[in-house]
Protein backbone atom coordinates (compact mmCIF):
# COMPACT_ATOMS: atom_id res chain seq x y z
CA UNK A 1 0.00 0.00 0.00
CA UNK A 2 1.23 3.45 -0.79
CA UNK A 3 2.46 5.28 2.26
CA UNK A 4 1.20 8.83 2.53
CA UNK A 5 1.54 9.01 6.30
CA UNK A 6 4.47 11.41 6.19
CA UNK A 7 2.60 13.74 3.84
CA UNK A 8 -0.45 13.68 6.10
CA UNK A 9 1.76 14.37 9.13
CA UNK A 10 3.39 17.28 7.32
CA UNK A 11 -0.09 18.64 6.57
CA UNK A 12 -0.89 18.62 10.26
CA UNK A 13 -3.61 16.00 9.95
CA UNK A 14 -5.15 14.03 12.81
CA UNK A 15 -3.91 10.62 11.68
CA UNK A 16 -5.75 8.55 14.26
CA UNK A 17 -9.14 9.99 13.37
CA UNK A 18 -8.37 10.04 9.65
CA UNK A 19 -7.65 6.33 9.82
CA UNK A 20 -11.27 5.72 10.81
CA UNK A 21 -12.31 7.22 7.46
CA UNK A 22 -9.79 5.03 5.66
CA UNK A 23 -11.48 2.02 7.26
CA UNK A 24 -15.00 2.74 5.99
CA UNK A 25 -14.20 3.92 2.44
CA UNK A 26 -13.29 0.47 1.01
CA UNK A 27 -16.55 -1.01 2.28
CA UNK A 28 -18.67 1.74 0.71
CA UNK A 29 -16.76 1.62 -2.60
CA UNK A 30 -17.14 -2.16 -2.70
CA UNK A 31 -20.86 -2.08 -1.99
CA UNK A 32 -21.74 0.82 -4.31
CA UNK A 33 -19.44 0.25 -7.27
CA UNK A 34 -17.97 -3.25 -7.23
CA UNK A 35 -21.39 -4.86 -6.85
CA UNK A 36 -22.20 -3.67 -10.38
CA UNK A 37 -21.71 -5.93 -13.38
CA UNK A 38 -20.42 -4.87 -16.78
CA UNK A 39 -19.06 -1.47 -15.77
CA UNK A 40 -17.21 0.48 -18.48
CA UNK A 41 -13.51 -0.39 -18.52
CA UNK A 42 -12.65 3.31 -18.63
CA UNK A 43 -14.04 3.72 -15.12
CA UNK A 44 -10.67 2.30 -14.06
CA UNK A 45 -9.34 5.86 -13.83
CA UNK A 46 -11.97 6.92 -11.30
CA UNK A 47 -11.65 3.61 -9.44
CA UNK A 48 -7.96 4.37 -9.05
CA UNK A 49 -8.60 7.95 -7.95
CA UNK A 50 -11.16 6.98 -5.31
CA UNK A 51 -8.92 4.13 -4.10
CA UNK A 52 -6.13 6.62 -3.45
CA UNK A 53 -8.36 9.63 -2.91
CA UNK A 54 -6.33 11.12 -0.07
CA UNK A 55 -3.03 10.16 -1.62
CA UNK A 56 -2.29 10.68 -5.30
CA UNK A 57 -3.99 14.02 -6.00
CA UNK A 58 -2.98 15.59 -2.65
CA UNK A 59 0.62 14.55 -3.38
CA UNK A 60 0.38 16.24 -6.79
CA UNK A 61 -0.91 19.43 -5.17
CA UNK A 62 1.83 19.42 -2.53
CA UNK A 63 4.42 18.97 -5.27
CA UNK A 64 2.93 21.89 -7.24
CA UNK A 65 3.10 24.05 -4.11
CA UNK A 66 6.80 23.23 -3.83
CA UNK A 67 7.15 24.64 -7.35
CA UNK A 68 5.57 27.88 -6.13
CA UNK A 69 2.00 27.35 -7.32
CA UNK A 70 -1.00 28.23 -5.14
CA UNK A 71 -4.00 26.00 -4.50
CA UNK A 72 -7.47 27.56 -4.24
CA UNK A 73 -10.22 25.56 -2.54
CA UNK A 74 -13.77 26.21 -3.73
CA UNK A 75 -17.25 25.19 -2.60
CA UNK A 76 -19.49 26.15 -5.47
CA UNK A 77 -19.92 25.98 -9.24
CA UNK A 78 -20.18 29.78 -9.40
CA UNK A 79 -16.50 30.34 -8.64
CA UNK A 80 -14.78 30.72 -12.04
CA UNK A 81 -11.90 28.23 -12.26
CA UNK A 82 -10.70 30.06 -15.36
CA UNK A 83 -9.44 33.03 -13.32
CA UNK A 84 -7.31 30.84 -11.06
CA UNK A 85 -5.88 28.84 -13.95
CA UNK A 86 -5.00 32.04 -15.81
CA UNK A 87 -2.74 32.95 -12.88
CA UNK A 88 -1.11 29.48 -12.90
CA UNK A 89 -3.06 28.57 -9.77
CA UNK A 90 -4.81 25.25 -9.12
CA UNK A 91 -8.45 24.75 -8.12
CA UNK A 92 -9.66 21.96 -5.91
CA UNK A 93 -13.20 21.31 -4.77
CA UNK A 94 -13.74 21.29 -1.02
CA UNK A 95 -17.36 20.27 -0.48
CA UNK A 96 -17.68 17.59 2.18
CA UNK A 97 -19.91 14.64 1.35
CA UNK A 98 -19.33 12.39 4.36
CA UNK A 99 -21.11 11.99 7.68
CA UNK A 100 -17.66 11.28 9.07
CA UNK A 101 -16.90 15.02 9.09
CA UNK A 102 -20.27 16.21 10.44
CA UNK A 103 -19.60 15.90 14.22
CA UNK A 104 -16.51 18.13 13.97
CA UNK A 105 -18.63 20.68 12.09
CA UNK A 106 -21.30 20.54 14.76
CA UNK A 107 -18.78 21.69 17.38
CA UNK A 108 -19.01 25.19 15.90
CA UNK A 109 -22.20 25.17 13.81
CA UNK A 110 -25.84 24.69 14.83
CA UNK A 111 -27.12 21.15 14.33
CA UNK A 112 -29.81 22.72 12.14
CA UNK A 113 -27.24 23.36 9.40
CA UNK A 114 -27.17 21.16 6.30
CA UNK A 115 -24.81 18.18 6.25
CA UNK A 116 -22.77 19.58 3.38
CA UNK A 117 -21.80 22.70 5.31
CA UNK A 118 -21.22 20.85 8.59
CA UNK A 119 -19.05 18.27 6.82
CA UNK A 120 -17.06 20.95 4.99
CA UNK A 121 -16.31 22.85 8.17
CA UNK A 122 -15.67 19.62 10.06
CA UNK A 123 -13.19 18.40 7.47
CA UNK A 124 -11.11 21.55 8.01
CA UNK A 125 -11.37 21.87 11.77
CA UNK A 126 -11.10 18.13 12.39
CA UNK A 127 -7.90 17.98 10.29
CA UNK A 128 -9.06 14.82 8.58
CA UNK A 129 -9.01 15.77 4.90
CA UNK A 130 -5.76 16.58 3.06
CA UNK A 131 -7.48 18.81 0.49
CA UNK A 132 -8.72 21.11 3.27
CA UNK A 133 -5.19 21.21 4.71
CA UNK A 134 -3.48 21.85 1.37
CA UNK A 135 -5.58 24.71 -0.01
CA UNK A 136 -3.70 28.00 0.41
CA UNK A 137 -6.84 30.07 0.06
CA UNK A 138 -10.55 29.21 0.29
CA UNK A 139 -12.97 30.92 -2.07
CA UNK A 140 -16.52 31.15 -0.79
CA UNK A 141 -19.66 32.66 -2.22
CA UNK A 142 -22.98 33.97 -0.99
CA UNK A 143 -25.23 31.19 -2.24
CA UNK A 144 -26.88 30.47 1.11
CA UNK A 145 -26.97 31.85 4.64
CA UNK A 146 -25.49 28.72 6.16
CA UNK A 147 -22.43 28.93 3.96
CA UNK A 148 -21.98 32.65 4.58
CA UNK A 149 -21.81 32.13 8.33
CA UNK A 150 -19.65 29.01 7.97
CA UNK A 151 -17.16 30.99 5.87
CA UNK A 152 -16.80 33.47 8.73
CA UNK A 153 -15.68 30.59 10.95
CA UNK A 154 -13.39 29.05 8.33
CA UNK A 155 -11.95 32.50 7.63
CA UNK A 156 -10.50 32.53 11.17
CA UNK A 157 -8.43 29.48 10.27
CA UNK A 158 -7.40 29.98 6.63
CA UNK A 159 -7.16 32.86 4.11
CA UNK A 160 -10.64 33.35 2.66
CA UNK A 161 -12.10 35.36 -0.20
CA UNK A 162 -15.87 35.67 -0.57
CA UNK A 163 -17.57 36.38 -3.88
CA UNK A 164 -20.88 38.22 -3.52
CA UNK A 165 -23.27 36.43 -5.88
CA UNK A 166 -26.32 38.48 -6.89
CA UNK A 167 -29.64 36.88 -5.95
CA UNK A 168 -31.52 37.99 -9.08
CA UNK A 169 -30.73 37.77 -12.79
CA UNK A 170 -31.35 41.27 -14.09
CA UNK A 171 -28.88 42.86 -16.50
CA UNK A 172 -27.38 44.88 -13.64
CA UNK A 173 -26.86 41.63 -11.68
CA UNK A 174 -24.85 40.14 -14.54
CA UNK A 175 -22.72 43.31 -14.59
CA UNK A 176 -22.32 43.06 -10.81
CA UNK A 177 -21.11 39.45 -11.07
CA UNK A 178 -18.68 40.54 -13.78
CA UNK A 179 -17.28 43.12 -11.35
CA UNK A 180 -17.00 40.42 -8.66
CA UNK A 181 -15.04 38.24 -11.09
CA UNK A 182 -12.73 41.17 -11.92
CA UNK A 183 -12.15 41.77 -8.21
CA UNK A 184 -11.50 38.06 -7.67
CA UNK A 185 -8.92 38.23 -10.48
CA UNK A 186 -7.07 40.97 -8.60
CA UNK A 187 -7.09 38.88 -5.42
CA UNK A 188 -5.76 35.87 -7.32
CA UNK A 189 -3.05 37.96 -9.01
CA UNK A 190 -1.90 39.34 -5.68
CA UNK A 191 -1.99 35.95 -3.94
CA UNK A 192 -0.13 34.10 -6.71
CA UNK A 193 2.14 36.95 -7.75
CA UNK A 194 1.18 36.23 -11.36
CA UNK A 195 -0.43 38.72 -13.71
CA UNK A 196 -3.60 37.66 -15.52
CA UNK A 197 -3.49 38.71 -19.16
CA UNK A 198 -6.18 38.37 -21.82
CA UNK A 199 -4.06 35.73 -23.52
CA UNK A 200 -3.73 33.66 -20.33
CA UNK A 201 -7.41 34.01 -19.46
CA UNK A 202 -8.39 33.12 -23.01
CA UNK A 203 -6.34 29.95 -22.75
CA UNK A 204 -7.88 29.10 -19.38
CA UNK A 205 -11.36 29.63 -20.80
CA UNK A 206 -10.57 27.14 -23.56
CA UNK A 207 -9.23 24.58 -21.06
CA UNK A 208 -12.36 24.68 -18.93
CA UNK A 209 -14.64 24.70 -21.98
CA UNK A 210 -12.92 21.52 -23.18
CA UNK A 211 -13.54 19.97 -19.78
CA UNK A 212 -17.22 20.94 -20.01
CA UNK A 213 -17.50 19.47 -23.51
CA UNK A 214 -15.96 16.19 -22.34
CA UNK A 215 -18.30 15.94 -19.34
CA UNK A 216 -21.23 16.66 -21.65
CA UNK A 217 -20.18 13.84 -23.99
CA UNK A 218 -20.45 11.37 -21.10
CA UNK A 219 -23.82 12.79 -20.10
CA UNK A 220 -25.06 12.74 -23.71
CA UNK A 221 -24.36 8.99 -23.80
CA UNK A 222 -26.78 8.61 -20.88
CA UNK A 223 -29.58 9.94 -23.09
CA UNK A 224 -29.52 6.70 -25.08
CA UNK A 225 -32.28 4.10 -24.63
CA UNK A 226 -29.37 1.69 -24.39
CA UNK A 227 -27.88 2.90 -21.11
CA UNK A 228 -24.09 2.40 -21.27
CA UNK A 229 -23.20 3.57 -17.75
CA UNK A 230 -24.86 3.51 -14.35
CA UNK A 231 -25.84 6.65 -12.47
CA UNK A 232 -23.44 5.67 -9.69
CA UNK A 233 -20.48 5.60 -12.06
CA UNK A 234 -21.46 8.86 -13.75
CA UNK A 235 -21.84 10.46 -10.32
CA UNK A 236 -18.38 9.33 -9.25
CA UNK A 237 -16.93 10.75 -12.46
CA UNK A 238 -18.45 14.17 -11.94
CA UNK A 239 -17.66 14.25 -8.21
CA UNK A 240 -13.97 13.61 -8.93
CA UNK A 241 -13.96 16.20 -11.73
CA UNK A 242 -14.09 18.93 -9.06
CA UNK A 243 -10.72 17.77 -7.71
CA UNK A 244 -8.80 16.75 -10.79
CA UNK A 245 -6.52 18.60 -13.14
CA UNK A 246 -8.94 20.00 -15.78
CA UNK A 247 -6.97 18.87 -18.83
CA UNK A 248 -6.55 15.33 -17.48
CA UNK A 249 -10.22 15.34 -16.53
CA UNK A 250 -11.20 16.19 -20.12
CA UNK A 251 -8.88 13.50 -21.45
CA UNK A 252 -10.30 10.82 -19.16
CA UNK A 253 -13.91 11.86 -19.76
CA UNK A 254 -13.37 11.74 -23.52
CA UNK A 255 -11.81 8.28 -23.13
CA UNK A 256 -14.89 7.18 -21.18
CA UNK A 257 -17.23 8.81 -23.71
CA UNK A 258 -15.49 6.93 -26.55
CA UNK A 259 -16.26 3.65 -24.80
CA UNK A 260 -19.84 4.63 -23.98
CA UNK A 261 -20.56 5.65 -27.56
CA UNK A 262 -19.16 2.33 -28.77
CA UNK A 263 -21.31 0.50 -26.22
CA UNK A 264 -24.39 2.23 -27.58
CA UNK A 265 -23.45 1.16 -31.13
CA UNK A 266 -22.93 -2.41 -29.88
CA UNK A 267 -26.15 -2.41 -27.84
CA UNK A 268 -24.36 -2.89 -24.51
CA UNK A 269 -26.49 -1.68 -21.61
CA UNK A 270 -25.81 -1.84 -17.87
CA UNK A 271 -29.50 -2.44 -17.10
CA UNK A 272 -32.18 -4.79 -18.46
CA UNK A 273 -34.60 -3.46 -21.05
CA UNK A 274 -37.59 -1.76 -19.43
CA UNK A 275 -35.64 -0.47 -16.41
CA UNK A 276 -37.22 2.79 -15.29
CA UNK A 277 -35.11 5.90 -15.86
CA UNK A 278 -34.84 8.48 -13.09
CA UNK A 279 -33.71 12.09 -13.22
CA UNK A 280 -32.40 13.28 -9.86
CA UNK A 281 -32.58 16.96 -8.93
CA UNK A 282 -31.87 18.97 -5.80
CA UNK A 283 -28.91 19.69 -3.54
CA UNK A 284 -25.43 18.65 -4.68
CA UNK A 285 -24.03 15.18 -3.97
CA UNK A 286 -20.46 15.82 -2.86
CA UNK A 287 -18.03 12.90 -2.78
CA UNK A 288 -18.45 10.35 -1.15
CA UNK A 289 -22.23 10.85 -0.94
CA UNK A 290 -23.54 7.90 -2.95
CA UNK A 291 -26.53 6.96 -0.79
CA UNK A 292 -29.37 8.20 -3.00
CA UNK A 293 -27.98 6.79 -6.26
CA UNK A 294 -27.17 3.44 -4.66
CA UNK A 295 -30.63 3.06 -3.18
CA UNK A 296 -32.33 4.01 -6.47
CA UNK A 297 -30.16 1.67 -8.53
CA UNK A 298 -30.51 -1.28 -6.16
CA UNK A 299 -34.28 -0.79 -6.18
CA UNK A 300 -34.74 -1.62 -9.85
CA UNK A 301 -34.28 1.77 -11.55
CA UNK A 302 -31.40 3.65 -13.16
CA UNK A 303 -30.32 7.26 -12.64
CA UNK A 304 -29.86 8.82 -16.08
CA UNK A 305 -29.25 12.47 -15.19
CA UNK A 306 -28.50 14.79 -12.27
CA UNK A 307 -29.94 18.30 -12.52
CA UNK A 308 -27.75 19.72 -9.79
CA UNK A 309 -24.36 21.31 -9.19
CA UNK A 310 -22.75 17.86 -9.23
CA UNK A 311 -24.42 17.30 -12.58
CA UNK A 312 -25.61 19.29 -15.56
CA UNK A 313 -25.06 22.69 -13.94
CA UNK A 314 -21.33 22.01 -13.83
CA UNK A 315 -20.88 21.68 -17.59
CA UNK A 316 -23.87 23.13 -19.45
CA UNK A 317 -23.24 26.42 -21.29
CA UNK A 318 -19.78 27.33 -22.56
CA UNK A 319 -17.94 30.61 -22.02
CA UNK A 320 -17.68 32.70 -25.19
CA UNK A 321 -14.11 32.25 -26.44
CA UNK A 322 -14.17 35.19 -28.83
CA UNK A 323 -13.83 37.89 -26.15
CA UNK A 324 -10.53 39.70 -26.74
CA UNK A 325 -9.97 41.96 -23.74
CA UNK A 326 -9.97 41.15 -20.04
CA UNK A 327 -13.08 43.27 -19.59
CA UNK A 328 -14.92 41.38 -22.32
CA UNK A 329 -13.72 38.06 -20.92
CA UNK A 330 -14.94 38.88 -17.41
CA UNK A 331 -18.32 39.70 -18.95
CA UNK A 332 -18.33 36.46 -20.95
CA UNK A 333 -17.56 34.56 -17.75
CA UNK A 334 -20.33 36.34 -15.90
CA UNK A 335 -22.86 35.63 -18.64
CA UNK A 336 -22.04 31.93 -18.57
CA UNK A 337 -21.98 31.50 -14.81
CA UNK A 338 -25.16 33.52 -14.31
CA UNK A 339 -26.98 30.98 -16.49
CA UNK A 340 -26.67 28.52 -13.58
CA UNK A 341 -30.12 28.04 -12.10
CA UNK A 342 -29.31 27.78 -8.40
CA UNK A 343 -32.10 27.95 -5.83
CA UNK A 344 -30.43 31.03 -4.32
CA UNK A 345 -31.96 33.12 -7.13
CA UNK A 346 -35.42 34.65 -7.15
CA UNK A 347 -37.24 33.93 -9.28
CA UNK A 348 -35.64 30.66 -10.35
CA UNK A 349 -38.03 29.47 -13.03
CA UNK A 350 -35.03 28.60 -15.20
CA UNK A 351 -34.48 25.54 -13.02
CA UNK A 352 -38.02 24.32 -13.73
CA UNK A 353 -37.43 24.84 -17.45
CA UNK A 354 -34.17 22.90 -17.18
CA UNK A 355 -35.79 19.97 -15.37
CA UNK A 356 -38.62 19.73 -17.92
CA UNK A 357 -36.13 19.92 -20.79
CA UNK A 358 -33.78 17.34 -19.26
CA UNK A 359 -36.64 14.91 -18.56
CA UNK A 360 -37.29 14.87 -22.31
CA UNK A 361 -33.64 14.80 -23.38
CA UNK A 362 -32.74 11.92 -21.03
CA UNK A 363 -36.06 10.12 -21.55
CA UNK A 364 -36.70 10.03 -17.81
CA UNK A 365 -39.74 8.12 -16.57
CA UNK A 366 -39.78 9.98 -13.28
CA UNK A 367 -38.02 12.61 -11.16
CA UNK A 368 -36.68 12.34 -7.63
CA UNK A 369 -36.27 15.79 -6.06
CA UNK A 370 -34.04 15.34 -3.04
CA UNK A 371 -32.63 17.98 -0.73
CA UNK A 372 -30.47 17.89 2.35
CA UNK A 373 -32.19 18.52 5.65
CA UNK A 374 -32.06 22.19 6.66
CA UNK A 375 -31.53 23.39 3.07
CA UNK A 376 -34.40 25.85 3.11
CA UNK A 377 -33.85 27.01 -0.49
CA UNK A 378 -34.13 23.65 -2.23
CA UNK A 379 -36.76 22.42 0.20
CA UNK A 380 -38.96 25.41 -0.64
CA UNK A 381 -38.47 25.00 -4.39
CA UNK A 382 -39.87 21.47 -4.14
CA UNK A 383 -43.37 22.96 -4.31
CA UNK A 384 -42.77 24.66 -7.66
CA UNK A 385 -40.80 21.69 -9.06
CA UNK A 386 -43.49 19.21 -8.07
CA UNK A 387 -46.31 21.42 -9.41
CA UNK A 388 -44.64 21.92 -12.79
CA UNK A 389 -43.81 18.23 -13.19
CA UNK A 390 -47.30 17.11 -12.26
CA UNK A 391 -48.76 19.56 -14.77
CA UNK A 392 -46.45 18.07 -17.39
CA UNK A 393 -47.54 14.55 -16.46
CA UNK A 394 -44.13 13.56 -15.06
CA UNK A 395 -44.21 11.49 -11.84
CA UNK A 396 -42.17 13.10 -9.06
CA UNK A 397 -41.04 12.00 -5.61
CA UNK A 398 -39.86 14.67 -3.16
CA UNK A 399 -37.42 13.54 -0.49
CA UNK A 400 -35.30 14.98 2.28
CA UNK A 401 -32.24 13.27 3.72
CA UNK A 402 -28.83 13.84 5.28
CA UNK A 403 -25.50 12.02 5.36
CA UNK A 404 -26.44 9.45 8.01
CA UNK A 405 -27.35 5.86 7.19
CA UNK A 406 -30.28 5.86 9.59
CA UNK A 407 -32.96 6.77 7.02
CA UNK A 408 -31.75 4.33 4.36
CA UNK A 409 -34.50 1.78 5.02
CA UNK A 410 -37.17 4.49 4.92
CA UNK A 411 -35.72 5.81 1.65
CA UNK A 412 -35.71 2.29 0.23
CA UNK A 413 -39.40 1.93 1.04
CA UNK A 414 -40.40 5.25 -0.52
CA UNK A 415 -38.16 4.94 -3.59
CA UNK A 416 -39.17 1.32 -4.10
CA UNK A 417 -42.86 2.27 -4.03
CA UNK A 418 -42.21 5.14 -6.46
CA UNK A 419 -40.44 2.85 -8.94
CA UNK A 420 -43.21 0.27 -8.60
CA UNK A 421 -45.73 3.01 -9.36
CA UNK A 422 -43.80 3.91 -12.53
CA UNK A 423 -44.35 0.36 -13.76
CA UNK A 424 -48.15 0.58 -13.36
Amino acid sequence: MADYVQMWKDLGMDLETHDLLCQVLPTAVGDVFMSQENRPTAMDFWDMVISEVHGIRPAELVEAQKQGRKVFGTFCVFVPDEVVIAANGIVTGLCGGSQFWVPAGETVLPKSTCSLIKASVGARLGKTCPFFRIADMYVGETTCDGKKKAYEILGQDVPMHIMDLPQMKREKDIVKWKDEIAEFAKVVEEFTGNEITAEKLGNAIRIINEKRKALKRVYDARKSECLPISGRDALLMIQISFFDDPERCAQMCNRLADELEQRIKDGVSVVPEGTKRILVTGTPLAVPNWKLHNIIETSGAAVVCEEMCTGTRYFENLVDETAATLDEQFMALSERYMKNNCACFTPNTGRIDDILRLVKEYKADGVIDCSLKFCCLYDTEKYAVSKALKEAGVPVLSLETDYTDTDAEQLRTRIGAFIEMLHE
Partner: protein, 90 residues
Protein backbone atom coordinates in the same frame (compact mmCIF):
# COMPACT_ATOMS: atom_id res chain seq x y z
CA UNK B 1 -20.73 -18.33 2.41
CA UNK B 2 -20.92 -19.20 -1.28
CA UNK B 3 -17.95 -19.27 -3.64
CA UNK B 4 -19.35 -16.14 -5.31
CA UNK B 5 -19.07 -14.21 -2.05
CA UNK B 6 -15.31 -14.78 -1.92
CA UNK B 7 -13.21 -12.15 -3.64
CA UNK B 8 -9.47 -12.03 -4.23
CA UNK B 9 -7.44 -8.89 -3.65
CA UNK B 10 -4.02 -8.36 -5.21
CA UNK B 11 -2.12 -6.00 -2.91
CA UNK B 12 0.78 -3.65 -3.67
CA UNK B 13 3.41 -1.61 -1.87
CA UNK B 14 2.84 1.28 -4.25
CA UNK B 15 0.02 2.25 -6.57
CA UNK B 16 2.41 2.46 -9.54
CA UNK B 17 2.95 -1.30 -9.25
CA UNK B 18 -0.80 -1.77 -9.09
CA UNK B 19 -1.39 0.33 -12.17
CA UNK B 20 1.35 -1.55 -14.04
CA UNK B 21 -0.33 -4.91 -13.30
CA UNK B 22 -3.72 -3.38 -14.12
CA UNK B 23 -2.42 -2.54 -17.61
CA UNK B 24 -0.94 -6.02 -18.04
CA UNK B 25 -4.17 -7.70 -16.98
CA UNK B 26 -6.15 -5.47 -19.35
CA UNK B 27 -3.85 -6.48 -22.20
CA UNK B 28 -4.20 -10.16 -21.22
CA UNK B 29 -8.00 -9.83 -20.91
CA UNK B 30 -8.05 -10.92 -17.25
CA UNK B 31 -11.21 -9.45 -15.67
CA UNK B 32 -10.55 -7.31 -12.58
CA UNK B 33 -11.31 -3.91 -11.04
CA UNK B 34 -9.28 -1.34 -9.14
CA UNK B 35 -10.53 -0.99 -5.55
CA UNK B 36 -9.41 0.48 -2.24
CA UNK B 37 -7.76 -2.34 -0.31
CA UNK B 38 -10.08 -3.55 2.47
CA UNK B 39 -8.88 -2.21 5.80
CA UNK B 40 -8.45 -5.69 7.23
CA UNK B 41 -5.80 -6.38 4.59
CA UNK B 42 -3.82 -3.22 5.13
CA UNK B 43 -0.90 -3.60 7.46
CA UNK B 44 -0.37 0.04 8.34
CA UNK B 45 -2.27 3.29 8.77
CA UNK B 46 -2.68 4.02 5.09
CA UNK B 47 -5.16 4.14 2.22
CA UNK B 48 -4.27 2.22 -0.90
CA UNK B 49 -5.41 0.48 -4.02
CA UNK B 50 -5.77 -3.22 -4.77
CA UNK B 51 -6.97 -5.23 -7.74
CA UNK B 52 -10.20 -7.13 -7.17
CA UNK B 53 -10.48 -10.49 -8.91
CA UNK B 54 -13.37 -12.96 -8.91
CA UNK B 55 -12.66 -16.60 -7.95
CA UNK B 56 -13.10 -17.80 -11.53
CA UNK B 57 -10.41 -15.39 -12.72
CA UNK B 58 -7.80 -15.75 -9.99
CA UNK B 59 -5.77 -18.45 -11.73
CA UNK B 60 -5.59 -16.33 -14.88
CA UNK B 61 -4.47 -13.40 -12.73
CA UNK B 62 -1.72 -15.48 -11.11
CA UNK B 63 -0.60 -16.66 -14.53
CA UNK B 64 -0.47 -13.07 -15.75
CA UNK B 65 1.65 -12.06 -12.76
CA UNK B 66 3.98 -15.02 -13.33
CA UNK B 67 4.25 -14.40 -17.06
CA UNK B 68 5.21 -10.76 -16.66
CA UNK B 69 7.02 -11.13 -13.31
CA UNK B 70 4.75 -8.33 -12.13
CA UNK B 71 5.62 -6.65 -8.84
CA UNK B 72 2.98 -7.16 -6.16
CA UNK B 73 2.80 -7.62 -2.39
CA UNK B 74 0.45 -10.57 -2.01
CA UNK B 75 -2.91 -12.04 -2.97
CA UNK B 76 -5.52 -12.39 -0.24
CA UNK B 77 -9.06 -13.73 -0.24
CA UNK B 78 -11.96 -12.31 1.72
CA UNK B 79 -15.59 -13.33 1.90
CA UNK B 80 -18.69 -11.19 2.31
CA UNK B 81 -17.02 -7.90 1.40
CA UNK B 82 -19.52 -6.66 -1.17
CA UNK B 83 -23.16 -6.14 -0.18
CA UNK B 84 -24.94 -3.59 -2.37
CA UNK B 85 -27.88 -3.20 0.02
CA UNK B 86 -25.85 -2.96 3.21
CA UNK B 87 -26.47 0.82 3.29
CA UNK B 88 -23.30 1.65 5.16
CA UNK B 89 -21.93 4.76 3.54
CA UNK B 90 -18.93 6.90 4.44
Amino acid sequence: MSEQDVKYYILFEDYTHGMALHELMLADCVPHRIVPAPRSLQGEVSCGMALLVKPEDVEAAKACIERHQAVHHSIASLAGQIKPMRDKYC
